[in-house]
């Protein structure tokens, strides 16, 4: 009985300490800036820019990897990697792209749009036509009136939003 109590106490104490200094339970909310619905400024804005840059890097490597796996028809690795990509979207990228304001913020909108195109391109490669169409529609809605804005699509190549949409639609024949 006493031993049970000791254990219970120690668990309680360590749990309390952990809560004070460690991460929240839900990984999706791991980055507090991610779900901010109102425009950020100062160091928070800087942090958001950093997060977007890291996401761009991650998406780039994901594209490279998925291209290679699909080209080599790697049947074992492709499903696991596709799950990885989807999980990354669900846990990190989508919360980051959910707010409207970064798409209009002068310091972030180019990167914001670039990430959306990269994400849509990955959806195309994952053959998720519904999500792909949704992503394209979202891009067109968010960037209405800014069709001539220069963004990166494919990553590393600059073109206008209009041209990138056309290119992406042209590629959406589900052939790779």
């Amino acid at each position: 009985m006493s031993r049970f109590l000791v254990l219970a106490l120690s668990m309680l104490l360590t749990g309390a300490c952990a809560d004070a200094t460690h991460a929240p339970q839900n990984p999706a909310t791991a980055s507090p800036a991610a779900s901010q619905q109102r425009p950020l400024a100062g160091s928070a804005l800087e942090a958001r820019a950093g997060e977007l840059a890291t996401a761009r890097e991650t998406l780039g490597e994901m594209q490279t990897t998925l291209r290679g796996l699909q080209r080599r028809e790697n049947r074992k690795a492709v499903p696991a990697f596709e799950d990885f990509v989807r999980a990354y979207f669900g846990l990190h990228l989508d919360p980051l792209l959910r707010p409207e304001w970064p798409s209009r913020h002068p310091d972030l909108m180019t990167m914001d749009a670039t990430l959306r195109f990269a994400r849509a391109d990955l959806m195309r490669r994952l053959q998720d036509s519904q999500e792909f169409e949704r992503a394209l529609a979202d891009i067109e809605r968010r960037f209405t009136g800014r069709q001539e804005m220069l963004i990166e699509y494919p990553l590393g190549q600059e073109r206008t939003v209009r041209s990138a949409v056309q290119m992406l639609r042209g590629r959406s024949r589900w052939t790779f």
């Binding site: 109590l5 000791v6 106490l9 668990m11 800036a33 990885f84």
Partner: protein
């Protein structure tokens, strides 16, 4: 009241569970909370680390584990620490029971994965379990989960702390462990997979590896960079991580083997390691799905082959009776097939050979890299065979003929691909290598074969001649050529065969422009060209080596002295002839009137034959003098030229350097000769 209960509970703890109060336990707790910073060490180092800590802390990790093992309802922290301790014991002692125990301890963490630290160890231990069970896909999933659930969320937090210079603060939580997390993931993928024999179906981790290589890792930077080069560079298997890891592991074995052989020579242990290294390369080759991958694996296998032959030559393993049973890995023939495939697709279709992400220049570089390894391995093998032949013994003839065949294989490869390619995909030193191979065939058949057949002699002479065509600036070869012709009774052919090659050099525009532009070694090339333009010097280059320059200069002095003698003789004879003519009695003209008497009839009138003799001797001496003058003139001109050619003897050695600019001239001359 509440505080009394707590006090009572704490006291009960101390009574019921004495181990919790021990100072070594507390110290181990601290140690285990920082295990992420040292767990990556190889088993030997990890054991030493744990033993060192055991001494310092006054109790071993095993004792710590034993004291905690029965705490079935321990706190998540205690469960995590126990799992870490068990994992450490597994890694240090390869004790699979400890891994199973660690996994069991983790079960208690399942409901407490909100903490990054718990989450990290949870996936990390399960990744080890997947490796131990040889389940690559499961391993990949654990690493991906670790990346998504620990690394990505921590990165933002770490950057924030770093901006505030708080990333190393003890209160910054597990975020401060992020650099170690990167290192540990890298270590797992880079080394642990190979150690556990997991070498396929890892391609899904390519993205993680590429992300790690983007300035996230500090201590394993170089191996990680090399891995990414094998993943994305021109010599890769179109992005396959499994292939890149296999080739990287084989390369590491290769490097270690060379170090061992340098220290101990070819011991039984080294031979065993060679077989393992060869098997590792073979495994990479099996994993390669594209021509690009096969090209990379074969190039490295041939590098191993070259290193084996080189080390055996260096170890004087060529002596008769020395152990020649060592099996040498690699197959130049397979590499030549792959090269031919790549050469065929050089114009179009090359991206389909696994070069989708590469430029055309990268493709050509890959071809060139493969060429270089084919070249090195064949020449080194032939040199080894030749060195065995030269060392003598019962099998000298067999070894010499084998050397000739191996050199011939390279020449065949060269003839098949060099002419068609211009300079694309051919190693810079290919033409000099062809020279070495032709020279080698000649040397093997004409010098090293004890009793060559007539066809072998003809073949050898032909190859010496070919060697001179490829690299006419090798003065020593001119001598070998003449000596070989002489040995087989064909020295008379030297002048004619030599003249033809010399003529090509004299007329070569490439040589002209090389000299005019004062390119590297231009002075030596000019000296040799001048030498080859002079038939006397060409003869000296062939036959004067044995006599030496001193003797030639001495001979010239002798000739000059002889000239003086002959000149004096000519003078004497000229005088004599004049005297004879002057004193010659001229009989009166039959038409002279009778009664007229000459004043003094000539008392010493010579006979006509005397005059003829003097005149003949004079003519002969004059001719001799003329010939001697011609010889003196020719030798005076040729000797300095010959002396200059001797100063270029080191060109052959210089050209062993692959990046020597002179290789360009050889290539141009070869192309010029073909056009």
């Amino acid at each position: 009241m509440g505080s009394r209960i707590v006090t009572w509970l704490v006291c009960a703890t101390l009574l019921v569970w004495p181990s919790l109060s021990r100072s070594d336990d507390a110290a181990w707790v601290e140690e285990l909370d920082h295990a992420h910073s040292f767990i990556w060490q190889p088993p030997t180092e990890l054991r030493a680390h744990l033993e060192g800590r055991s001494e310092a802390l006054g109790g071993s990790l095993r004792e710590f584990v034993a004291s905690r093992a029965d705490t079935g309802r321990a706190s998540p922290d205690a469960a995590r620490r126990l799992a870490i301790a068990q994992l450490l014991l597994y890694l240090a002692h390869d004790d699979s029971e400890q891994l199973a125990a660690s996994v069991a301890s983790l079960k208690r963490l399942r409901d407490h994965l909100g903490r990054f630290e718990n989450r990290y160890w949870y996936h990390y231990v399960l990744a080890h379990k997947a490796l131990a069970k040889q389940r690559p896909v499961e391993f990949s999933e654990q690493i991906m989960a670790l990346w998504l659930r620990v690394v990505v969320p921590l990165e933002g937090r770490y950057e924030e702390l770093e901006r505030l210079s708080l990333h190393e603060s003890p209160n910054s939580g597990f975020a401060s462990a992020l650099p170690s997390v990167y290192e540990n993931i890298t270590w797992l993928i880079l080394y642990r997979t190979g150690e556990r024999g997991v070498d396929r179906d890892l391609d899904g981790l390519s993205a993680v590896v590429r992300l790690l290589a983007r300035d996230r890792v500090t201590s394993l930077t170089q191996p990680l960079r090399e891995l990414v080069a094998l993943l994305d560079g021109p010599l890769s298997d179109d992005g396959s991580l499994s292939f890149a890891l296999a080739l990287s592991a084989a390369r590491s074995r290769h490097e270690r083997l060379l170090g061992d052989v340098q220290k101990t020579g070819w011991t039984g242990e080294a031979t065993g390691k060679l077989q393992l290294t060869a098997a590792a390369y073979e495994r990479a080759l099996e994993l390669a799905e594209t021509t690009s991958g096969r090209c990379a694996a074969l190039a490295d296998t041939l590098r191993l082959r070259t290193d084996v032959y080189a080390s055996r030559i260096a170890a004087r393993d060529d002596a008769p009776g020395a152990d020649a049973t060592l099996e040498v890995p690699g197959s130049p023939e397979r590499a030549i097939e792959v090269y031919a495939e790549m050469a065929g697709a050089r114009g179009e279709g090359w991206p389909e050979l696994g070069f989708h992400a590469a430029s055309h220049q990268d493709y050509l570089s890959a071809m060139e890299a493969l060429w270089r390894q084919i070249q090195h391995s064949l020449l080194m093998q032939a040199e080894y065979q030749l060195s065995r032949a030269v060392a003598g013994g019962r099998h000298a003839g067999r070894d010499a003929r084998r050397a000739s065949t191996t050199y011939g294989s390279f020449l065949e490869f060269f003839d098949r691909h060099a002419p068609a390619s211009g300079s694309d995909g051919v190693s810079e030193s290919a033409h000099f290598a062809a020279f070495r191979a032709a020279l080698g065939v000649g040397h093997a058949l004409l010098e090293a074969t004890p009793e060559p057949r007539q066809t072998e002699i003809d073949h050898g002479i032909l190859h010496y001649q070919r060697a001179l065509q490829l690299f006419p600036f090798d003065r020593v070869l001119w001598t070998s050529f003449a000596a070989a012709l002489g040995r087989h009774g064909r020295e008379g052919a030297y002048a004619e065969l030599g003249r033809e090659i010399a003529e090509r050099v004299r007329r070569s525009n490439s040589v002209d422009s090389w000299i005019d532009a004062a390119e590297p070694a231009a002075a030596k090339i000019e000296a040799l060209r001048s030498g080859l333009s002079d038939s006397f010097t060409t003869m000296y280059m062939g036959f004067a080596q044995a006599a030496g320059l001193g003797k030639l200069e001495g001979d010239l002095e002798v000739l000059r002295a002889r000239r003086d003698e002959v000149a004096a003789q000519v003078d004497r004879l000229t005088q004599k002839r004049e005297q004879v003519i002057a004193s010659t009695w001229i009989p009166a003209s039959p038409a002279e009137p009778e009664g007229i008497q000459t004043a003094s009839p000539e008392p010493t009138a010579p006979s006509l034959p005397d005059l003829e003799t003097v005149a003949r001797e004079l003519a002969a001496a004059s001719q001799r003098l003329e010939r001697i003058d011609e010889h003196i003139l020719a030798r005076s001109r040729a000797l300095p030229l010959y002396r200059q050619t001797l100063e270029s003897d080191d060109l052959r050695l210089e050209l062993l350097r692959e990046d020597h600019p002179l290789h360009r001239l050889l290539r141009r001359m070869y192309q010029e000769g073909r056009s």
